[in-house]
């Protein structure tokens, strides 16, 4: 069998080149000839140079043009190495030697031509810049396509790379559009294109005004170029006129004196400055007998001495004078610096400015909303991470440094489940209860084996649980490695809840927020409405009295600890879904979680909620003040918390009365 195949393959290879050779240039299909004509730039495949090839194909009017562009864009077009002809291809498995094969199709007719070794072909790999150009060129074909998806794709192509020809094309098809969603999209695009490419000002201004109240990024991206300015300089006073945006004062924040002077030099209105290096070079060039202008070289070790020597050289006429600080000011004072709008039509500029102004305030408000949403999301993550701790630390007063590792354990449980159950939705549905079970068991084991012997030795509990924490972390490393493991959310949790182009939040964060609320509810229900909750509260307040009332404090402590740990496990699955699953996952949350509990007030779930909210908002707003450095935000936040605790050592919500003494 294999022999037969090999024979077949050998025949094929023997035949193919011959077939290729037989194709004379005259026999080439028109589209192939066109491609061959532009072969060089197609092979070069650079956005800078490929334009003529794409334009030629698009404008050729050949029936195959659309197909060629589309499949080229999709990287389905290959080039044969030996003769440079282009083909569409499909994978055709492997030959007897394990080499990959390709089936070739003619680009003009789509007919199968034969099968070749993949090694004999080169794939054309247009980069995304070129693909966008192809998309733009394809618009004229695709806008009338019966398929909704294709028309949508064409509209996306216009959004990415709009050309003035698109406006006419779009207007010609807009009336015939039947799909309402696409029609709305077309209408919006048509107005945006009108602003950019519209023929007369009235039309453009009308389009601008039609957008009132919209804060889409695409609209702002269309308007902002209209109000671009250019810095200019004029002798004396700045000219008056509608196109002057503003007059700048040198030395202000918008225009430093140095920049102003540089501009003057560039416009050849002022002599260039002499830099320190130039001055040095001039001095070195004028060293005579170990002296410069009568000053010993050895004494030229301060800037003042050098300036003096240079001034002396100027006096001697050996070098040209350099402008001094005062002279620079004087020169600058003689000129006015102003910005002008680069757009041609003042009316359009005015309309765009008006529209942008109203958008700007709206954008600011919405950005604030977005930040608030982010802060809320961060707060819910902190709350989720801390809620287990609020139970073990807040209720039982047990410091559990391994809490972070329980979070990690939950996340890894999610990962393992996903390895076994490939369906993301099902795997998450299994992972959440399983994570609870796993960490509940781990928590109970830890309580039984370690913590219960240390109830009166809190500092030692801290250290013993820390020992467990490093052991668990290393164990996770040994099992899963230190590389992050994928924990992927199901598709229905992908994407974001978009309110507008500024305010949006990913669904996974919404889910975490909801989860945090559910936990809050569950916690409140268990503590306030169930028998177990009553017993937990009793044991917390006075274990001996509780025991004499028939409650088994051992059992209650075990259950409470298990519950706290189990919740940490579920939190782990949630955190793993939006961030990375590593063995150090928990470590990042442990200090933060303790802070959350301590700031909020130990022993009170509302305090924890408040603490998480405070910390989440604080961090986001510090970030907002210093957007380029997230690390600084974290530092300042911790310092703030340290100071905060000085003034409210018992947290935001302090327990009062007897409960506080427990």
């Amino acid at each position: 069998m294999t022999r037969l195949l090999r024979l077949l393959a050998a025949c094929l290879f023997a035949l193919l080149p011959a077939a290729a050779m037989a194709q004379d240039t005259d026999d080439l299909s028109e589209i192939q000839a066109l491609l061959q004509e532009h072969r060089e730039i197609i092979e070069k495949s650079s956005r800078r140079t490929i334009g003529p090839a794409i334009d030629a194909i698009a404008a050729s009017g050949l029936p195959a043009a659309q197909d060629v562009l589309e499949r080229w864009q999709a990287r389905e077009m290959w080039q044969r190495t030996d003769d440079g002809l282009f083909f569409f291809t499909e994978e055709a498995g492997e030959d007897a030697n394990g080499e990959d094969l390709l089936t070739l199709f003619d680009i003009a007719t789509g007919e199968e031509v034969g099968t070749v070794l993949e090694d004999d072909m080169d794939q054309l790999k247009p980069n995304s810049g070129i693909r966008a150009m192809m998309g733009a060129a394809l618009v004229r074909f695709q806008l009338t396509d019966p398929n909704d998806r294709v028309r949508n794709r064409a509209l996306t192509a216009i959004e990415r790379d709009a050309q003035d020809s698109h406006l006419a094309t779009l207007r010609s098809v807009i009336a015939e559009e039947t799909n309402p969603a696409i029609a709305a999209r077309m209408a919006r695009l048509e107005r945006l294109l009108t602003i950019r490419f519209g023929e007369d000002d009235a039309e453009r201004i009308e389009a601008i005004e039609s957008f009132s109240g919209d804060l889409g990024v695409d609209l702002r991206a269309t308007l902002n170029p209209l109000v671009q300015t250019e810095l200019r300089v004029a002798e004396g006073e700045a000219p008056e006129g509608e196109d002057v945006a503003r007059v700048l004062r040198p030395g202000s924040e918008a225009l430093s004196k140095a920049d102003a002077y540089t501009l003057l030099v560039r416009e050849e209105l002022a002599p260039p400055l002499i830099s320190g290096d130039d001055q040095k070079a001039a001095l070195v060039a004028n060293i005579i007998d170990g002296q410069v202008a009568g000053i010993q070289v050895a004494d030229l070790n301060t800037d003042d001495a050098r300036d003096l020597a240079y001034a002396e050289l100027v006096r001697q006429g050996a070098v040209e004078a350099a402008a001094t600080e005062d002279e620079i000011d004087e020169i600058i004072d003689g000129y006015a610096f102003y910005e002008v709008y680069t757009a041609t039509s003042p009316e359009v500029v005015a309309a765009a400015l008006g529209a942008l102004r109203s958008i700007d305030t709206k954008v600011a408000v919405n950005q604030f909303l977005d930040l608030t949403l982010d802060a809320l999301s961060l707060a819910s993550i902190y709350f989720l991470a801390a809620i287990g701790l609020a139970i073990t630390f807040g209720v039982m007063r047990v410091i559990n440094m391994a809490h972070g590792e329980f979070i990690m354990m939950g996340a890894y449980t999610g990962y393992v489940v996903q390895q076994i159950i490939p369906n993301y939705t099902a795997s998450i549905a299994v992972a959440i209860p399983l994570a609870f079970v796993v960490t509940f068991a781990a928590g109970v084991a830890m309580e039984r084996l370690v913590i219960r012997w240390l109830y009166h030795r809190p500092l030692e509990t801290l250290l013993a649980t820390f020992g467990i924490s490093i052991a668990l972390q290393q164990l996770a490393k040994n099992i899963f490695g230190t590389q992050a493991r994928p924990l992927t959310s199901p598709d229905w949790l992908g994407g974001a809840l978009v309110f507008n182009d500024v305010v949006s939040i990913s669904y996974i964060r919404v889910a975490i927020f909801v989860l945090a609320l559910i936990f809050l509810g569950v916690f409140l229900f268990i503590m306030n409405r169930t028998r177990v909750g009553l017993e937990v509260r009793a044991v917390t307040q006075n274990p001996r009295m509780a025991a004499s009332m028939g409650i088994n404090p051992d059992k209650i402590n075990m259950l409470t600890f298990g519950l706290g740990s189990g919740i940490a496990g579920i939190a782990g699955v949630a955190i793993g879904l939006y961030a990375q699953v590593t063995s150090e996952l928990g470590q990042g949350y442990i200090v933060q979680s303790f802070m959350t509990v301590v700031v909020g007030g130990v022993g009170n779930i509302w305090g924890t909620l408040l603490g998480a909210t405070l910390i989440g908002f604080l961090q986001k707003f510090i970030e907002w003040f210093n957007p380029s450095n997230t690390l600084a935000a974290q530092t300042y936040m911790i310092i703030f918390i340290i100071i905060f605790i000085q003034f409210r050592p018992r947290g935001l919500i302090a327990l009062k009365g007897r409960a506080a003494e427990a």
């Binding site: 170029p225 996974i508 690390l631």
Partner: protein, 429 residues
């Protein structure tokens, strides 16, 4: 580990015979120090390189060793602890008396061992892309300098994708800081205004990316094409790409080019939403050459796992090790100074095709590849430059533009061309 032990035992046993046969001026066995973290945070990246070195040593021994001597790998574990790197380097050089060392990943670990190596005149091959601004007499840099990774990637953004506004996102440590400084200065040279460059630094392992991604999205509001240059390190990339995908940012709208994301990093991610985003390296596993195929096959056989990926620093070790072998053969000795002189101008074929050349500034000349992320976690190579010689001192920062490194003629790693003096022979750490 058992494989490693066996390899070691084999090497020592064979070396015992070889040492009698050798007539040359070398002490058999020739010892190759491997200074990679096997525990701690860097273990996953560096353990792979340790295994690569063991594989290369094994292969070389199968070919008959070097100068008639067997090679013996001496592996130590600096445990991702930077001061420990210096201690272990000293141990390798003085206790084990190795002839050459291959190792380090992070810049800070390299800075930690530099003084020790220079003091004891050792030889180190450093395989990872780094921030440049360094050229030590005793180190050969087989990873990319900024002009071999960052600059070509930015050129690609400017020319091929028409990017007009840049977001430089990085983890807050020296490599992103220096690289971004160089890029800022380079971009301004290219006419990008300072306000069109958004820079942000985040801590290691950062996970809260929502605000930053929103900021990047907002950059497009003035109608410019926005591109992201990411020097985000390690795990933090997972959260970043997840947030990008959730925000619906398509590679065609806002492309991201990453300098620290390779095949290994992508294995922690579902890449289906990242298709089309870019990475710049000197090597991709998907490179279609015979040498690469052979290398991957040998790697899979050595490690016993067909799912393991290869990456850029592995190729760097592959080139560095083979160049060292050739230089030792040419010098006829393992003496550091003799080998160093023979390293200059050494040539060796890249796994991606073409030939790497070692320059007198101790940096390699290599082609730069740009790859698009595919759904299977591999990269599709869409651009490959001609070989670019590594530049120890970048031309795009005023302080270092005047500096050159030439260990052959100027005998100086930090030579000021303006004052025509050697600033220093030893490195600034």
């Amino acid at each position: 580990m058992s494989k490693f032990t066996k390899a070691l035992l084999g090497a020592t046993a064979a070396a015992a015979f070889a040492s009698h046969a050798s007539a040359q001026d070398v002490a058999c066995p020739i010892k190759v120090g491997v200074l990679h973290s096997l525990s701690g945070t860097m273990a996953i990246s560096e353990t792979t390189l340790k295994d690569t070195m063991l594989m290369l040593v094994e292969q070389q021994n199968a070919k008959g060793g070097v100068l008639g001597c067997e090679l013996e790998a001496v592996v130590v574990d600096p445990a991702s602890d930077w001061p420990l790197f210096a201690e272990k380097a000293r141990e390798l050089l003085t206790v084990h008396e190795v002839d050459v060392m291959f190792g380090n990943w992070t810049s800070v670990s390299r800075k930690s061992v530099l003084p020790v190596i220079e003091e004891l005149n050792g030889l180190l091959f450093y395989p990872v892309q780094y921030e440049g601004e360094e050229s030590s007499k005793n180190v050969f840099y087989t990873g990319a300098a900024p002009n071999q990774q960052a600059i070509p990637a930015v050129d690609y953004f400017l020319e091929e994708l028409g990017v007009e506004k840049f977001a430089l996102l990085g983890t807050d440590y020296v490599y992103p800081r220096t690289t971004n400084n160089i890029l800022e200065s380079y971009l301004q040279d290219k006419g990008i205004a300072a306000e069109d460059i958004f820079v942000n630094y985040t801590p290691f392992g950062h996970s809260d990316w929502a605000t930053i991604v929103a900021d990047v999205k907002e950059l497009a509001a003035d109608g410019s094409q926005v591109g992201v240059i990411s020097t985000i390190n390690g795990d933090a990339n997972v959260g970043f790409y997840k947030e990008l995908a959730a925000a619906g940012i398509d590679a065609a709208d806002i492309p991201v080019v990453a300098f620290s994301v390779g095949e290994e990093e992508l294995s922690g991610l579902d890449t289906s939403n990242l298709v089309g985003h870019l990475a710049a390296w000197n090597y991709f596993m998907s490179a279609d050459t015979d040498a690469n195929e052979e290398f991957i096959a040998a790697w899979h056989e050595f490690i016993g796992d067909d799912s393991r990926v290869t990456n850029d620093p592995m190729e760097a070790h592959y080139i560095g090790f083979n160049m060292w072998v050739n230089a030792v053969e040419a010098a006829g000795t393992t003496d550091v100074d003799a080998v160093r002189e023979n390293m200059w101008g050494q040539e060796f074929p890249n796994l991606t095709g073409g030939t790497a050349v070692m320059g007198v500034n101790h940096h390699l000349s290599k082609p730069v590849l740009i790859g698009e992320i595919l759904a299977d976690g591999q990269f599709d190579i869409i651009s490959e430059t001609d070989p670019v010689p590594g530049d120890a001192w970048t031309d795009f920062l005023p302080e270092s533009a005047v500096l050159v490194s030439d260990w052959k003629d100027l005998e100086c790693g930090m030579y000021n061309t303006e004052t025509e003096t050697c600033v220093q022979i030893e490195s600034n750490y």
